[in-house]
């Protein structure tokens, strides 16, 4: 437990709260037991959860060298200062309604025989594939929202020219313009060719040389454009 505390700094009243939470967990496991029973069980459970954490290595990424020898070597240490800076606001007391607490207790009791998540999943409206869009609309949720400050990451950075259809439109226009230019050039070349073919009988040698020159000219103009 001690090592667990060193991982998170929850602020002033963190210790009590953690213990309380652990106790709650116990009280769930030993739901109808006497107070003394779970007190006796408490130390073992707590140390279990602490060792589990390390054994699983789940928290190991955030464990500093001094904390755990097994984590040394294969893992990169995160700066202890960084971890210390993380603070969770304390739990506000007594604001929640008693009704909800009662509801939770009954649900927990019910959970002994069936799983709440399964029940929820089976609900018809939860399974409805279009419920997602409805929920977003109904609760007026900004889907792409973030809790980062805007200078760090801003999902609203984009204006209407940045969206895919706008880009595709510009792309198409650019392409068409280019095609058109190309087309008018080939048209011009074919006209010239035609003219030369009609004059072929009179001066064959001359016309072929002109044709060659023109072709070369048109090729180079293609490169320029």
């Amino acid at each position: 437990m001690a090592s667990l505390h060193s991982l998170v700094n929850y602020g002033a009243d963190s210790d009590n709260e953690d213990e309380q939470e652990d106790r709650n967990k116990d009280s769930l496991v030993e739901y109808r037991d006497e107070d003394s029973a779970f007190k006796a069980a408490e130390p073992t459970v707590v140390s279990d959860s602490a060792t589990d954490l390390h054994a699983n290595g789940k928290a190991a990424f955030y464990v500093s060298e001094s904390d755990d020898d097994s984590a040394k070597g294969k893992l990169v240490n995160t700066d202890q200062d960084e971890i210390d800076r993380v603070q969770l606001p304390p739990e506000p007391d007594g604001i929640h309604s008693l009704n909800v607490q009662k509801k939770i207790i009954t649900m927990l009791a019910r959970k002994m025989d069936s799983n709440m998540n399964k029940i929820l999943e089976k609900r018809k409206n939860f399974r409805n594939p279009s419920i997602y869009e409805k929920l977003v609309e109904f609760c007026a949720i900004d889907e792409t929202g973030t809790n980062y400050p805007a200078e760090m990451y801003n999902p609203k950075l984009w204006d209407k020219h940045d969206y895919y259809n706008a880009i595709a439109k510009v792309q198409k226009e650019t392409y068409e313009k280019k095609e058109k230019a190309k087309q008018s050039r080939t048209q011009y070349i074919s006209i010239v060719k035609e003219m030369m073919q009609t004059g072929k009988g009179r001066n064959a040698v001359n016309s072929t040389s002109i044709q060659n020159n023109l072709c070369r000219g048109s090729m180079s103009s293609l490169y320029i454009v």
């Binding site: 991982l7 998170v8 939470e21 709650n24 967990k25 009280s27 769930l28 959860s49 954490l53 290595g57 789940k58 928290a59 190991a60 990424f61 955030y62 294969k74 893992l75 990169v76 960084e82 971890i83 993380v86 969770l88 606001p89 304390p90 506000p92 007594g94 604001i95 929640h96 909800v100 607490q101 509801k103 939770i104 207790i105 649900m107 927990l108 799983n115 709440m116 929820l120 997602y132 869009e133 609760c139 007026a140 949720i141 929202g145 973030t146 809790n147 980062y148 760090m152 999902p155 950075l157 984009w158 940045d162 969206y163 895919y164 259809n165 880009i167 595709a168 792309q171 650019t174 392409y175």
Partner: protein, 268 residues
């Protein structure tokens, strides 16, 4: 006597894959000599690319979420050193758009990524010519990457999302009128897509953790004796580790953000 050959089976499941810790600790990229920080940055950079591209492709958030989870999963079996992160991000969003039934043309995906890169590096706007070799090359790369992602994940590309859970749970907790709380929890979930929590916990637990963190920050009391989240199968231990990951990411993100652009410039 010949030992009968045992073939490995294939299990297709709609549940999310939760990776064991050994797999999360020793990633292929690190075995290739990439530092842990660099890997985290590449993961975050890829996820931010996907998120931005999703916004520009006008996809619903679930598509971005799927893409980010696929991206993260893929790099637990392949290395960043061998496979370009940007191409993979493109493939993931292209695939995820199809999975979430909002398909987009591959050309649009390529365009949008090209555009984002230019915008982030503050280059003037320019569109890619779709008859150019550059475009054809990118396109075939993305198609190949998509195939690799599918193969690597064994075609199990369905991702279960906690989005719906957040609203449903808050309804049970009788907090569904509190728009601020819903939004904040939702935001936390979007932000935590950049981390590996979706490879560690069930979507239900993540939803609980998002609500828990937001309620604390907004000073809203939720039933704590016994704690409400036990109803939804989340345990105190899981919640604590989740909170830790998200908060550490929150606090070191400034640093990561700066490094990210360095990565970007190197890559371009």
């Amino acid at each position: 006597m010949a030992v009968p050959t045992e073939f490995s089976g294939v299990v297709l499941s709609l549940e999310n894959t939760i990776y064991p810790d050994e797999k999360l600790q020793e990633t292929p990229s690190q075995l290739d000599g990439l530092s842990k920080e660099m890997e985290t940055n590449l993961r975050i950079a890829g996820c931010e690319y996907i998120q931005a591209a999703g916004i520009l492709l006008k996809l619903p958030q679930v598509a971005m979420a799927t893409a980010q989870v696929l991206y993260q999963r893929y790099y637990y079996s392949k290395s960043f050193v061998k496979y370009n992160y940007e191409i993979c991000a493109m493939a993931c969003i292209f695939l995820a758009a199809k999975i979430e039934e909002h398909p987009r043309r591959i050309r649009d995906v390529v365009n949008v990524f090209y555009h984002i890169r230019r915008k982030l590096n503050e280059l003037p706007n320019k569109v890619m010519d779709y008859m150019s070799n550059e475009y054809f090359h990118k396109k075939s790369e993305v198609i190949k990457a998509e195939r690799r992602v599918l193969k690597e994940l064994g075609f199990c590309v369905h991702v279960k999302h906690p989005h719906k859970c957040i609203v449903t749970y808050l309804k049970i907790l009788e907090c569904n009128d509190n728009t601020e709380l819903i939004q904040k929890a939702w935001n936390y979930m979007n932000d935590s897509l950049r981390t590996d929590v979706f490879m560690r916990y069930t979507p239900e637990t993540i939803a609980c953790a998002c609500i828990y963190l937001s309620a604390r920050q907004l000073g809203i009391g939720l039933p704590s004796n016994p704690p409400w989240y036990e109803v939804f199968d989340a345990t105190t231990k899981e919640m604590e580790v989740y909170l830790l990951i998200v908060s550490v990411i929150d606090s070191v993100d400034m640093l990561i953000y700066q490094v990210k652009y360095v990565v970007d410039i190197i890559a371009s």
